[in-house]
């Protein structure tokens, strides 16, 4: 396939300033869900096609086809070129892609146990027993569900600068969701494991233990205290720290947003954005996490990104275009969800690095506030730097002690305030937030993490007056 794509590149007429890339992406996935004792969805999905992108005279043209013969791809390439040329008279900005970044190579996920070699009954067992244990725990469990997913994808990228890259990725995931209900009071607990790799990543999932753990927690949450409201000190667990750094900070570091003048962090490289001692990284090369990859969807070799070093902003997430425009180096952040969309500057595995404080010490510093756990997700408006995220549960902190459990709640904060308001960094980071990030209609797997983190003046949106 790489040769066909390269052959097409060599067959079109381009000037040295023009840019054209062709990407073939194919993915096959399987998803099995059991809900309340019934097989809710058992499905197999295949997507595949060729994406052609041309940047000519400052405008992009993009088209896709599902045929993979040379003649069809060549025709589509000429269509993309024609579209870019048509767009150029309407654009006011200069856009190019530098010619010094050329990548060649092939990446492949390390697969110790190929899930395609595992029989369906074994896969069913993982989810059926998880769901059954949770559901049968008590009458207050309204719904229990468990889902198994695997995906096998390949992506080939060539461009007229000389890049020629192939990448094979395998992902696997087990999820559980348990909903408890007492009248109109409801709580749910969601959790998942998995990442980039094979069956080895979920092999040790003990269905009975996992089902029981969620059911017990749901029961406790139904009896938990009402969450408070107002501005207060918050300690986040590693999962919350992960989603917090992803939403509050990571999105604002995406260079396409910087160029679109849509980020509060525009022009802030080498400026202080956080307290001394805080370090924030994103590293897609850490093995086996959800946001792990070797080459991005533009063929750029991925590497660790240093976003914040000792409180100073150091780096953005770059595509080839944003790196050229801002005069910086690409760092392999151009990710595309599938063949039908263009790569965007995206995160991979983002985390706050370790500090040295124990949870009890942080609680003592907080004195009063809340200790929040287990993310539900969130969102951010990078243009004004206002973010929002939610947790599944938490605990009150009273007089420096972690006390009563509370139910789920959402929080709001301002990007430029929160890293400055960090008052304590815990001692051990964990990649605890296994998420899926949405941007511009594209969903890609990501991981977020960190240690326990103490932040002052977050707005907690509970119902308690």
């Amino acid at each position: 396939m790489l040769d066909i794509l390269e052959n097409v590149i060599n067959s079109v007429t381009l000037t040295p300033k023009d840019f054209l890339d062709i990407r073939y992406a194919y993915a096959m996935g399987e998803s099995l869900t059991v809900r309340n004792g019934r097989f809710d969805s058992i499905s197999n999905q295949t997507t595949g096609g060729v994406a052609i992108r041309a940047l000519i005279d400052n405008a992009w043209g993009f088209t896709t086809i599902v045929n993979t013969d040379k003649e069809s791809i060549l025709k589509a390439a000429n269509k993309a070129i024609k579209m870019a040329k048509a767009g150029s008279k309407y654009t006011k900005q200069e856009r190019t892609i530098g010619d010094k970044w050329v990548y060649e190579g092939s990446g492949a996920t390390k697969l110790e146990i190929d899930p395609r070699d595992i029989d369906k009954e074994t896969k069913f067992e993982k989810i059926v027993k998880t769901e059954q244990t949770a559901r049968e725990y008590s009458d207050t469990i309204a719904e229990a569900s468990a889902t198994y997913q695997e995906s096998h994808s390949k992506e080939f990228v060539v461009n007229n600068r000389g890049t020629k890259v192939s990448n094979k990725t395998h992902t696997i995931r087990l999820m559980k969701n348990v909903v408890g209900r007492e009248g109109t009071k409801m709580q749910n607990v969601f959790d998942s494991i998995g990442g980039v790799g094979g069956w080895e990543l979920i092999e040790n999932w003990n269905p009975e233990e996992e089902g029981l753990k969620s059911a017990v927690l749901v029961e406790k949450l139904l009896l938990a205290r009402e969450p408070p409201s107002g501005k207060m000190n918050v300690i986040m667990d590693p999962s919350l720290t992960g989603v917090f750094i992803h939403e509050a900070f990571g999105h604002a570091c995406e260079a396409d947003g910087i160029i679109a003048k849509n980020s509060i962090l525009e022009g802030k490289i080498d400026q202080r954005v956080g307290v001394e001692g805080i370090n924030v990284y994103d590293d897609p090369t850490i093995p086996q996490l959800r946001g792990t990859f070797e080459y991005d969807s533009e063929g750029t070799k991925a590497r660790k990104r240093v976003l914040v070093e000792d409180g100073i902003l150091k780096e953005y997430f770059h595509t080839l275009e944003t790196a050229t425009t801002l005069g910086m180096e690409p760092n392999g952040s151009g990710r595309a969800m599938n063949f039908n969309v263009t790569p965007q500057a995206r995160m991979g595995n983002s985390y706050v690095d370790d500090g040295d404080m124990k949870l009890e010490e942080i609680a003592e510093m907080a004195k009063d506030g809340v200790y929040l756990k287990d993310s539900y997700g969130g969102y951010v408006v990078p243009a004004k730097g206002q973010f929002y995220f939610t947790c599944q549960l938490g605990y009150y902190i009273e007089n420096g002690e972690i006390t009563d459990m509370m139910g789920n709640v959402g929080m709001s904060g301002m990007t430029l305030e929160v890293l400055q308001n960090t008052f304590a960094i815990g001692e051990k980071w964990d990649a605890a937030f296994q998420g899926t990030c949405g941007k511009g209609g594209q969903w890609v797997p990501v991981t977020g993490g960190g240690p326990n983190l103490g932040v002052s003046d977050l707005v907690v949106g509970g119902t308690k007056q």
Binding site: N36, F39, T47, G462
Partner: protein, 449 residues
């Protein structure tokens, strides 16, 4: 094999092929879709896109076990594999005793006016771009305005064929667009967006997109943090619809009702909201972006009264869930994509207006919050709402004081429905989605001050 005509033939072939493998029932859902988009960045054009969204989904039933498969690849080999995969999964999957049958419905499907507009299909990219440039011009209301967004035209043809005799075809066009505007005056940032969508080009309000996005961004300048307090909340029609619809969508869908996770389990005939709340669902609203002559299983729905004077009238069902809750199939099967299993979901809701003017709702407010395009969303199935105020204003003595920065409203979905204090007589109708301004009694507002 990706032309519109071929995809009907393909659906018929899939059903025959599935049966020949030994399936008890087969359903094929094929979709021809094309979309042309124009991306706007910093007030000018960045990218032209022309992509296909075609694909097919297959459901196969064998001994009450269900297997599904989907693909976007239309080669003979891929399609054969897709049918085979669905059949294999049905064979190994444990049976679902609750599964009754795929549907059969021979009612004629109605013609919905304004669902297909040749002008959208014929619109060339240069003409479309001219409309977009006009929209951008409208948004340029401040010298510092930074404008970005995306505009799309689309055409889709959907075929549903099943082995019981369902054979339906429908075609729909669409045009949609949004602009986000950011205005910075030093550290002070005003930010807002606006969108519109229509099935006919003549109904697409492209100038309004730019105008409203720009005006709203300007109004968001000067935002301030507020104190935590318990305050009444006035929602504009977009916020009203965006709040009321998801609650109802979860609350009355028969699958969630059967699973006991719906907000309104066992509530048919009971009061679930203020008596001021009346909601209908019209699948055939002319020109509605969510209107459809049949559901995603091929069943013809009908217009339903969902809530009358605060009383719940019915649940919405599809072929799987109707027997589970003891109701008839209301034809509300909806798929997220050709790859998904259908679930019940509403079409086009209309929330009946009240009698008070929207100006009075605002001017009579002693102290409260005005929300613009900021719905009160809950997280997942939870009835707890903890929603950020994205575009909100502090109101005192009927006057808008300033935009609100960094605040969250905490309540429950039940609070929202029960605390409807009043509804305006004016409504906004967005392609059939109709809602008034809605005043809610005091809710807990967490401020950052």
């Amino acid at each position: 094999m990706t032309s519109k005509e071929d995809l009907h033939e393909l659906a018929e072939y899939i059903v025959k092929h599935g049966l020949s493998l030994g399936a008890d029932q087969v359903e094929a859902y094929t979709l021809y879709g094309s979309a042309k988009s124009v991306q706007v960045e910093r007030g000018s054009i960045r990218k032209f896109t022309d992509v296909s969204n075609s694909g097919l989904g297959i459901r196969i039933i064998k001994d009450k076990s269900i297997g599904m498969a989907s693909t976007t690849i239309f080669t003979t080999e891929s399609i054969e594999n897709c049918v085979k995969n669905a059949y294999s999964l049905a064979k190994v999957s444990p049976p679902d005793p609750n599964f009754d049958s795929l549907p059969f419905d021979d009612k004629p499907s109605p013609e919905i006016p304004g669902r297909h507009d040749q002008a959208i299909i014929d619109l060339d990219v240069e003409e479309f771009t001219e409309l977009i440039l006009q929209s951008i011009q409208e948004a340029q209301i401040h010298e510092n305005a930074v404008i970005g967004g995306n505009f799309t035209t689309g055409h889709g043809v959907r075929y549903i064929v099943n082995s019981l005799g369902i054979d339906r075809t429908s075609s729909q066009t669409s045009v949609s667009g949004y602009l986000g505007v950011k205005i910075a005056e030093g550290e002070d940032i005003g930010n807002a967006y606006y969108y519109d969508a229509a099935t006919a080009l003549s109904n697409f309000k492209h100038l309004k997109i730019g105008n409203v996005a720009g005006e709203r961004a300007k109004k968001m300048l000067g935002s301030k943090k507020i104190e935590t307090a318990s305050l009444p909340v006035l929602l504009d029609p977009d916020s009203t619809y965006g709040t009321v619809e998801p609650i109802l969508s979860n609350g009355i869908n028969a699958l969630s009702v059967f699973n006991r996770t719906a907000f309104f389990v066992d509530k048919i005939g009971d009061s679930i909201a203020s008596e001021k709340l009346n909601i209908t669902d019209d699948p055939f609203y002319p020109g509605g972006t969510d209107s459809s002559p049949f559901d995603d299983e091929g069943v013809v729905p009908k217009k339903l009264n969902l809530i009358e004077n605060g009383m719940l009238q019915t649940y919405i069902t599809d072929s799987y869930t109707a027997p589970l809750v003891g109701l008839e199939n209301t034809g509300h099967a909806s798929r997220g994509s050709f790859a998904s299993r259908p679930r019940p979901a509403p079409y086009t809701l209309s929330i009946k207006p009240g009698t008070t003017s929207k100006d009075s709702l605002l001017s009579d407010m002693k102290e409260g919050v005005l929300m613009i395009a900021s719905p009160l969303h809950s997280s997942g199935n939870n009835p707890q709402i903890s929603a950020q105020i994205n575009q909100g204003f502090l109101v005192k003595n009927g006057e808008i004081l300033h935009p609100i920065k960094n605040a969250v409203i905490g309540c429950t979905v039940f609070d929202v429905y029960q605390k409807i204090d009043d509804l305006s007589k004016e409504t906004e109708n967005r392609s059939g989605h109709e809602a008034p301004w809605m005043l809610l009694e005091e809710l807990q507002v967490s401020g950052g001050k």
